[in-house]
């Protein structure tokens, strides 16, 4: 380590006063400056639209179509200004001394080229080694470096034959193949499961430190930042608002925006609350007004107040079993988190409960009555009592209808209200989700993601349901918006006393939203109990693995 310390002070890339504008002249990157040092990682943190990817690509002298460089320099260790070079000059550096790891490897790997040839291409283009033999050896070596098999058969695979995590490793191998001085990584773990993410992060960390690469890690995830970065730069609307060593920025933030961002990050321990309502911890198990007295739920409590009961829920598509028998009870006013990674069957289970998926076997009963599988077979009353909120608010509202028209659909279909009554109820629901009355005549295109999700929640609320099923409702939202939605859901639950099934992949939200936690793995609930119990004393190895890999601030 002592040798590395000397290298750490060596500047590999310095961006000074970077300015980027759209072709129409609107500046979207305002005077951005940062320094990358050998063997150290700078995290560029920002929410969507903050310009972090644009800044990252500028380090490679690359600007996407419609964007142009209008000022500033990117200087390399030898003093050359990358942005003053010709196209050919920049090309010689890209993938060579400065490389890039893309956000979505599924889109960035050429689907019609074998992965081995894609990595070899970098080596050939930049003339690695003296011979083809040397390049072949390097290919095998770099695959080992990123923890992939390096045999010829593996090199001959097509991208679609690899898992998401493997594809991302190929992306990293490609970036690392020529032993770059600088690596720019654009959200390389977004979309990966926690366990895979942990492994990829470990690989990146190893490469950067042992080979003294200067790293730029672009991300929106502050928890990940604390795992990988030595320094942090926080971006807001095309500007760096705060920059410093990661310990300092994450634990003693100076800028208001950084504080707001950090406050919004859910944490597994539930140390702080991410909204107005207290986190659900052992000490504060807020459920509903009438149940606030009982500090902890026991199995008996749940059974006695059971509202929704799911028994032996199974579903398979052909030979592919998605759900392998799920059982749980949900008490009145209770909030249950259904936690699972992609492919665990969590969304399928949620959709079966809501009647959106009718090909299941087993039973879903509401207050003792077994429900028919499909919504069309269920009675209007039953449909009212279970409501479902979709993952993406971009997709769940018809763009051609006003918010009012979308929100009133459940009321219209129940057929018992006059137009005036419907409008009044819609306004009431909008008020509940803290949207102004003026939103009633707007269309989804005029709303932000958070506002849309509120509108979608309002649609679920107009009929005053007893069970609200929330399917990954915050996973498409920025972290600050996520906090406000979680806050809203908790407040609503306290106010209305409805029960909630909160489906998510994000275990860090557990203490913020639910008293009970069910861990779903391969179509089965492997761990279930009061949130604190499961988190502190996980029974199943899968839960333990998840807990060790979840990044924390």
């Amino acid at each position: 380590m002592s040798t590395l310390i000397e290298q750490q002070t060596e500047v590999a890339l310095q961006a000074t006063d970077l300015r980027v504008a759209t072709a129409l002249g609107k500046e979207i990157l305002h005077s951005v400056s940062f320094t990358l040092q050998r063997g150290r990682m700078l995290a560029l943190v920002g929410e969507s639209g903050s310009g972090k990817t644009t800044a990252g690509l500028a380090c490679l002298g690359y600007f996407r179509t419609g964007l142009e460089h209008v000022g500033g320099t990117v200087e390399l260790s030898d003093g050359t200004n990358l942005l003053a070079l010709t196209d050919a000059g920049r090309r010689g550096l890209r993938g060579g001394s400065i490389s890039y790891v893309p956000q979505d490897p599924a889109l960035s790997l050429n689907p019609a080229m074998r992965i081995g040839s894609q990595i070899m291409e970098v080596l050939r283009v930049h003339g690695y080694g003296a011979s083809e033999q040397a390049r072949r050896e390097r290919l095998a070596e770099v695959l080992t470096d990123v923890g992939l098999p390096n045999d010829t058969a593996y090199q001959r695979r097509w991208p679609h034959e690899l898992s998401g995590g493997q594809q991302q490793r190929v992306g990293i191998a490609m970036a690392f193949a020529f032993r770059p001085e600088v690596m720019v990584m654009d959200e390389p773990t977004t979309g990966l499961d926690v366990t895979t993410q942990a492994l990829v992060l470990q690989t990146i960390h190893q490469l950067v430190t042992t080979h003294a690469v200067a790293g730029l890690y672009i991300t929106h995830d502050l928890a990940v930042v604390s795992e990988v970065a030595d320094e942090v730069a926080v971006m807001l609307a095309g500007r760096i608002v705060e920059q410093g060593p990661s310990d300092q920025v994450l634990h003693d933030p100076q800028h208001a925006y950084t504080r707001k961002l950090l406050n919004a990050v859910p944490d597994l321990a539930g140390r702080h609350h991410i909204g107005e309502v207290e986190a659900v911890t052992g000490a504060m198990p807020i459920i509903s007004r009438e149940r606030a007295a009982s500090a902890r739920l026991t199995a008996r409590d749940v059974a006695s107040t059971s509202l929704l009961s799911v028994a032996d829920l199974r579903l398979s598509y052909g030979s592919n079993a998605v759900l392998n028998g799920i059982d749980f009870e949900l008490g009145r006013g209770e909030s249950l988190m259904l936690l699972g990674e992609s492919g665990s069957g969590k969304t399928t289970a949620a959709r079966c409960i809501a009647g959106l998926n009718d090909s299941y076997t087993g039973s879903v009963s509401l207050a003792g009555t077994t429900l028919q599988p499909g919504t069309r077979q269920r009675s209007a009353e039953e449909r009212h009592r279970i409501q479902y909120v979709f993952q993406s608010p971009l997709s769940s509202l018809n763009p051609r209808r006003t918010i009012g028209e979308s929100v009133e659909v459940p009321l219209y279909m129940s057929g018992t209200f006059s137009r005036k009554e419907r409008r009044a109820l819609v306004l009431e629901a909008l008020d509940q989700v803290q949207l102004a009355a003026s939103f009633i005549d707007r269309r989804p295109g005029q709303l932000s993601g958070g506002e849309r999700q509120r509108a979608a929640i309002a649609r679920a609320l107009v009929n005053a349901p007893s069970v609200l099923v929330c399917d990954e409702v915050t996973s498409a939202l920025d972290v600050s918006v996520q906090a406000s939605i979680i806050d809203l859901l908790r407040t609503l639950q306290v106010e209305t006393g409805m029960a909630m099934v909160f489906v998510t992949h994000n275990i860090a939200l557990a203490r913020h939203i639910s008293q009970r936690l069910a861990v779903l793995h391969a179509g089965r609930i492997v761990d279930m109990g009061p949130t604190d119990d499961v988190l502190e004393n996980p029974q199943h190895s899968y839960t333990r693995e998840l807990l060790t890999h979840v990044p924390t601030l």
Partner: protein
């Protein structure tokens, strides 16, 4: 898992499709082109009595003579009269055929996309069969059997448009149908026809308008082609396609009999294609900003 919040925050309502279309220069040229020809075709027949003094089927002299403004045709009829009288049926037939094709194609495409399964494969395989015969060949087959009559032409052009429109509709509708707002409507047990009409249809108007323009252009071309082959409108009707057929033997001698209708058809189809292209661009930018 990409975050979407702030990115959408700045987007105001996109200006209406119509305004986006009109804003393009080529759309305005296209509108002017089609406007002129439609005007000629619609007003032309009314102008005959006092502009030329002849009806379109009246013999005014010997064939291919330079009498009148543009001379006489193969049977000695006034070319200007025939030209002014010869566009309306083409336009009406093309419009009817397009409307029929849009109706059949949109319905079939939306049903196939929404119902999926068996109905989808039946509709799409039926499409493949209809597509295996080029439009013109299909039309010729129908004309052989049923004779060269107006309704046959409209019907057969309309029916041959349908599978092509159905394909476009189906792929556009399939994208919409995977959206969660359709799931939401299903969850609230909204009747299926209402889902198709209120949730699906309004969200595929862009591609449908492009199809409408495209099919209108093709209808005009197909109907004019049939007349040109002598298998559409029958003599002595005045019709642009037929005029070209009748007068092309004297292209060097008395070219107006050919050039006038050729120009009219060319301006019309180029105009409608310019509009269609503008619509396609406009609806593409709407899609992007969504």
């Amino acid at each position: 898992m990409t975050t979407i919040d702030t990115a959408t925050e700045t987007i105001a309502a996109p200006p209406g499709l119509l305004r986006r279309i009109i804003r393009q220069r080529q759309a305005r040229i296209g509108l002017a082109f089609t406007g002129i020809i439609v005007l000629v075709a619609v007003v032309g027949p009314l102008l005959l009595p006092w502009l030329t003094g002849y009806t379109s089927t009246e013999f005014t002299g010997r064939p291919f003579q330079p009498d009148g403004v543009f001379g006489t045709d193969n049977l000695g009829r006034d070319i200007l009269s025939r030209f002014l009288d010869g566009g309306l049926t083409l336009l009406v037939f093309a419009a009817l055929a397009t409307a029929l094709g849009m109706l059949l194609g949109t319905a079939a495409g939306m049903l196939a996309a929404y119902q999926g399964g068996k109905l989808d494969s039946i509709i799409m395989r039926g499409n493949d069969v209809l597509l295996a015969l080029p439009q013109l060949v299909f039309a010729l087959l129908a004309i052989t059997v049923l004779g060269p009559q107006g309704w046959v032409v409209v019907l057969v052009i309309g029916i041959t448009h349908a599978p092509r429109i159905a394909r476009v509709t189906r792929s556009a509708a399939s994208a919409v149908i995977t959206e969660d707002f359709i799931r939401a409507s299903e969850m609230y047990a909204v009747p299926r026809w209402k889902i198709l009409l209120k949730d699906v249809l309004p969200n595929i108007t862009g591609p449908l308008m492009v199809e409408l323009g495209l099919r209108m252009t093709y209808s005009i071309a197909a109907i004019a082609s049939l007349s040109f082959l002598g298998l559409g409108m029958q003599p002595p009707t005045a019709d642009w396609g037929l005029m070209i057929n009748e007068n092309r033997i004297a292209l060097t001698l008395q070219p107006w009999g050919v050039i006038l209708p050729v120009l009219a058809i060319a301006i019309l189809t180029v105009g409608s294609n310019l509009i269609t292209d503008a619509v396609a661009r406009a609806s593409a930018t709407v899609e992007e900003s969504k």
